[in-house]
Symmetry: D2
Subunit: 334 residues, 4 copies
C-alpha cells in the first residue's frame, strides 16, 4: 500500500510522466507554521543539478490543496500536488515489451497486468520522492529540537566523490554510493519492542526510496565481526550517554538518547548508457538494449535529502506515539 505511519501518516501518489506527483499528510498536529517557501531549500537539494544528475528540470512548485489556513497547519490532512510540466511521454513506450534491466518495467507489467503507466517508470519513478521530501519538511518542524542530517560518504567505492562521478560520466556508466544519516537530540524511549522497533520502522520507510539495497544501524555489518566487549557501548551518563555509539542510538529497538546513526547502500542508477541484454517480449528473444537520453549518473547524490525526509517522518510518527501514553504513565523509578 502507498501509505505509511500510524499517527503521522503519509500517502504518496503520482507518476513520473502523468499529470502530477504528490502526497497527503494525515495526522499532522494543528498550529505548525508552514508556507510554500519552507519547501524550497530541500527541493533544491533534491533537484541538485551538477554533474551526475538528470537534466530534467521541473519547477517543483508545491500546490498545497488542503490542511493549511492562515499560515498554520489546521490538523486536517495536508495535500500537496506537484504538477508535471517537463514530462516527455513519447520516450518510453517501447519499454513495455522490452524491459530495462534493473528497472521495474518487467515486475510492474506483471503485477498490474500491463495496465501500469510505464512512462519513465510511472509510479515507480524516483520523482515520487518529491512528496516524501515535502513531508520531511513538515516532519522536521514536529520533531524539533531533534535534527536530521544525511550526507554521501562514498560514490563508486571512493570517498573522492566528485572524481568518481566524473569518471563514470566519461565511461558512460552509472555508479552507486553510501549515504549516512544522523539524528541528534532524540528523546529516550521512542520505538516499540515488537514489531515497531526504530530499526524496523526506519528501514520500512527507507527501503521505499528507490535504489536503496541495504541499511545498517550503528556498526551494522561491522558488528558481525566484533566481540561483545568491543561492541557494547558503556553507559557513562545519567541521561544514557554512552562512551561509544556502536548501537547507533538504539537498544532493544528503543532510542537510548544518543545520536541515531545509520547508513544505506544505494545501487548504481539502473539507466546506464552501456549496452545491455534483455528479453524482447515481442520477438521472444534476448536482444541488446541501449538506453538513450540523459539520466542521473549517480542517483546517490540526490539521496541525502530524501533520506533525511524519511528519517524525519519516522521520528515524527514515533514521537507522537510516545506522547500518547505520556500522561497516563506515572514513572515509578529511573
Amino acid at each position: 500500500m502507498n501509505s505509511f505511519g500510524r499517527l503521522f501518516r503519509i500517502s504518496i501518489f503520482g507518476e513520473s510522466h502523468g499529470k502530477s506527483v504528490g502526497i497527503v499528510i494525515d495526522g499532522c498536529p494543528a498550529g505548525i507554521p508552514l508556507k510554500t517557501e519552507d519547501f524550497e531549500a530541500d527541493f533544491s537539494r533534491r533537484r541538485s543539478g551538477g554533474i551526475g544528475t538528470t537534466p530534467r528540470r521541473e519547477p517543483d512548485i508545491p500546490r498545497i490543496m488542503s490542511g493549511l489556513f492562515d499560515g498554520y497547519t489546521t490538523g486536517a490532512p495536508i495535500t500537496i500536488v506537484f504538477e508535471n510540466t517537463s514530462a516527455r511521454p513519447g520516450d518510453y513506450s517501447r519499454l513495455v515489451d522490452f524491459p530495462r534491466p534493473g528497472h521495474a518495467d518487467f515486475t510492474a507489467s506483471r503485477k498490474f497486468g500491463g495496465y501500469q503507466d510505464y512512462r519513465g517508470g510511472g509510479h515507480f519513478s524516483g520523482r515520487l520522492t518529491l512528496g516524501l521530501v515535502a513531508a520531511g519538511v513538515i516532519a522536521r518542524k514536529i520533531i524539533l529540537p531533534a535534527e536530521v542530517t544525511a550526507f554521501l560518504t562514498e560514490a563508486g567505492g571512493s570517498s573522492d566523490i566528485e572524481g568518481a562521478v566524473n569518471r563514470a560520466v566519461e565511461e558512460q556508466d552509472s555508479i552507486g554510493g553510501i549515504v549516512e544519516c544522523r539524528i541528534s537530540g532524540v528523546p529516550v524511549g521512542l520505538g516499540e519492542p515488537f514489531f515497531d522497533s526504530v530499526e524496523s520502522v526506519m528501514s520500512h520507510l527507507v527501503f521505499s526510496i528507490p535504489a536503496i539495497k541495504g541499511i545498517e544501524f550503528g556498526s551494522g555489518f561491522r558488528a558481525a565481526k566484533m566481540k561483545g566487549s568491543e561492541h557494547n557501548d558503556n553507559i557513562v551518563g545519567k541521561d544514557g550517554t554512552t562512551e561509544t555509539n556502536h548501537a547507533g542510538g538504539i537498544n532493544g529497538g528503543i532510542t537510548n538518547g544518543n545520536e541515531i546513526l545509520f547508513r544505506v547502500a544505494v545501487k548504481p542508477t539502473s539507466s546506464t548508457h552501456q549496452p545491455q541484454q534483455t528479453m524482447n517480449f515481442r520477438t521472444g528473444k534476448v536482444e541488446t538494449l541501449k538506453i538513450e537520453g540523459r539520466h542521473d549518473t549517480c542517483i546517490a547524490l540526490r539521496v541525502p535529502v530524501v533520506l533525511e525526509a524519511a528519517a524525519a517522518v519516522v521520528m515524527a510518527d514515533l514521537m507522537l506515539q510516545s506522547q500518547a501514553v505520556a500522561r497516563v504513565n506515572k514513572p515509578k523509578f529511573v
Copy 2:
C-alpha cells in the same frame, strides 16, 4: 506495537521469565493441516544447543489455545502459548539500577517508567522469537511451493564458524555473525511500490529479531561500489529469469520471480563475561559490571530458523495481498 502484517497478521506477547511467551496468528486461511508435531523441527533448530548457546532448557511445548479444529486451521485466530518453566527470576533484579551495556535494560526502564518486567530482558528477550518461529511453521505451509532457507555464513568474521565460536568461549567473550536467507519458488509481482516494497516489509519484520543491526538485499552494500552495467541483471527468460541476481529477486520493490536473497548482520551477544563499565543509577557513578551465568556466546547461531520464520511470514502476507486483486485484474498484455 506488537503486531505485524496486513492480512496474515501476527501479535506477539510474553516475557522471558514471566508466565509465558506466545503468539496470535490472525488471518490464517482455513483448511491448512496442522498438528503440534509440525513445530518440533524448527523449535529444535532454534533451541539448538552445542557450543555457544545458552544452557537454559525450556521444553518449548506449544499449547494451541484456539483456531485449530479436527487437525485443520479454522480461519479463526490461532493462539499458541508457551509456558515458561525453567525461568529463574531471582537472577536479574539488580539490573534495574545497573543496566547492562548493549541490552534494553536502560531504554525499557525509561520507556515504561520503571514498570517493565526487567527479568532476563522481559518482553525484549530473544525468547519471544519462539512465537515467531511458530508462526513461521504455519506460514511455510501457506507459501508453498515457495521455500525459505537461511544459514550462518560467518561468525566473528570467519567462515570457520565452529573455530570462531570455540575461540570466543575460551576468551569468555561473545561474537556476532552474518546470516543469509534465500527464498525460492517466489511468484512474480509480490510487494507494493510505495511503501510496502518487499524490502520494506521484510526489513520491518527482520529488525524485530533481537541483535539484527543490518540487512542487505542482493548485492546490497557491494552494489554501492558497482557500476550499473555490472549490477543490472540481464533478463534472459520469458518468466523473468535473470542471468545474475544482484537485485536479490526484487525490482522496484516487487518480486521478479528469481530467488529472493538477503543477508543480515547479527551483533555479538550483549551478555559477555568480560567486565564492562556502566552507570549505577543507585550510586550515580560509573562502575564495573561483570555478567555471571551462561548465555549464548554467538546468538547468530540461533538466528537462521528465526529469520526463515520472519521471511515466511512476510511472504505469506504478501501472497495473500496479491491474491486479493487477482480475479479483478484481467491482464491486458505481458
Copy 3:
C-alpha cells in the same frame, strides 16, 4: 484519521471553502475502465437541486491527478481533486467565537486549538462527501455484479417527502429523514467475525457521512421487540436464500447471500433559519444567533448517493479481502 479500508483504501482531504476537496483511492485493482464522464451521474444526484437543497453551485469537475492511464486504472493510487470555485470565505469568520449549535464549530475549535479552517465547516463540511461519491463510482465497478441502491423513505417523519420539505421551507426550519440502502448480488462469506463484521465496517464508514445519527441492519430496532421465532429467517435455498430477511443479509457479521439491507437516520440540517441560543465566547454570554444565507432544508435528500458510495466502498474492500484467501482455502464441505 482520514483514511478507511484495509485493501481498498480511501483517504479524504479538503475544506469547504479552501482550495479543494478530494480523495486518494489506494488498492484499486488495475485494469478497470474509467473516464471522467463516469462520475457525472452520481455527482449530479449529489448536487441535486430542487427545493430543500443549497443553492451553492460547484461544477464538481473531477481532476484525476494519478492512477489512470489510457482509460484504465493502473493499480497505483488514484487521486481526484475538486477545486472549489464558488466558495465565499467571508461569510463565516464570526463563527469562531460564536459557534453554531449542531455544527462542529465548537468541537473543531477545541480539538485543533483554534487553527482549524472554520469557513463553512472547513474539513467537517458535507462538501467532503464529494470525494466519497467519486470513490463509490469506482467501487461500484469492482463489486459487480453486486449493486447498491439507496433512497429516502421519509422526511420530517412523513412519507410524503415533497410535502414535508415544502412545509419546512415555509416554516424556515430544517428537517431530517430516513434513508434505506439495499445491496443485491452479494456473495456469501464477506465480513470477519471479530471485529470486522459487515455491520462494524459498514457503520464505521457510514457514520463518517455528516448528519447520520443512527443505523440499523435488517429489522434493526424493531428486532428488539420481536420474538426469536419471528425474527429468525428460515433458510429455504441451498444457496442460503431465506424466507424473510430480518437479518438484513448478515449472520454472525458475515454476508449470507441475501440482500444486505440497512437504514440510517439523518438529523435535520444544523443550519436552520430559526433563531438559536449559543455561547458568544467573545462576550462570555449566551446570545441569539440567526443564521443567514441559504442552506439545505433537508440534507437527507442528498444522502442516498453518498450512502450508496459508502456501501460500495465497504463491499469492494470486503470482497478483495475475501479473495485474498480464496485460493488457499480448499473447501472441505459446505
Copy 4:
C-alpha cells in the same frame, strides 16, 4: 480481522467449546495497577444468571499470561486466557449440515470452507465477549475520570423487563431488548473528522458484540422526525455544556464535553425452543429443526456490561490518540 484499535489495541481469540477464549491488549500504558480480582465484578455481571440466562457455568478465571509485573501493567501486551471447562462438544455436530436460523452456522461454513469449529457457534459465540469485558476493566482505569454505564431499558418491547422475560420463558421463545449507554466526564475533542468519528469507531466495535442490530446516538432515529430548531442543542456553558443533548455528546464526530449517549438494539436470542424451518444440506430439503438444551432467553440481559467494555475500549483508544498531539499543539484560541 480480529483486532481493533489504533493505539489501545485488542485482539480476540478462542471458541465456545474449544480449549479457551481470550484477548491480547496491546498499547496499554505502563504503571496501571491491576490484579485478578479487578475483573470479578464485571465478569459476574456478564455471567449474571437469573431467569432468562443460560445455565452454562464457567468459572471465568482470568489467567494473565503476560504484561503484568509486581501488580502493575508493564507496557508490554497483556494476554488473558480463559480456559473452557464446562464445554460439551458433543451437542453441536449436526449443525454443520443443518444450520440454525439466525446463527452463523451457514455463513461460517461457507466462509471457512467447512473447517470452522462449529461447536456452539465456535469463534462466533457470545462467549468471546468475555475477553472484551476483561479489556474493558483495564480501559476503564485509563479513561478515568470518565465513566461508562449501560442498562437495559426494555425487553421484548416492554419496560417491565422481568415480566417480559418470564413470559418468554413460559412461551418457550426468546426476546430482544434495548440497551442504553452513557459516558460521563468525557473531555472535549476526542474523535477524528473523517473517518474515525466517535460514532464511527464506537459503532465499529459495538457491532462486534453478537446480536446487536442497530445503534443510535443522542436522539438517533427520532432525530429524523425532528426539526433543526428542536434538535440543535443550545450551547450554554463556556465548557461546551448544552441545554439539551440531542447530539449525544458528539458534533461533527468529535466529543463536545457533554455526556456521550447511545442506544443499541439487541435481537432476540437466535436459539429459541420453537420449531423452525431450515435447509438440511445432507438431504437437500427444508426440514423442521427443534433446538434442545438451555440458552439465554433474552441475551440483552447480558449486554450492558459488554457494551460498557466496548465503550471504555473505544474511549481509551481515542484518549491516547488525542494525547499524542497534545504537546505539539499550542492553542491559538478556543
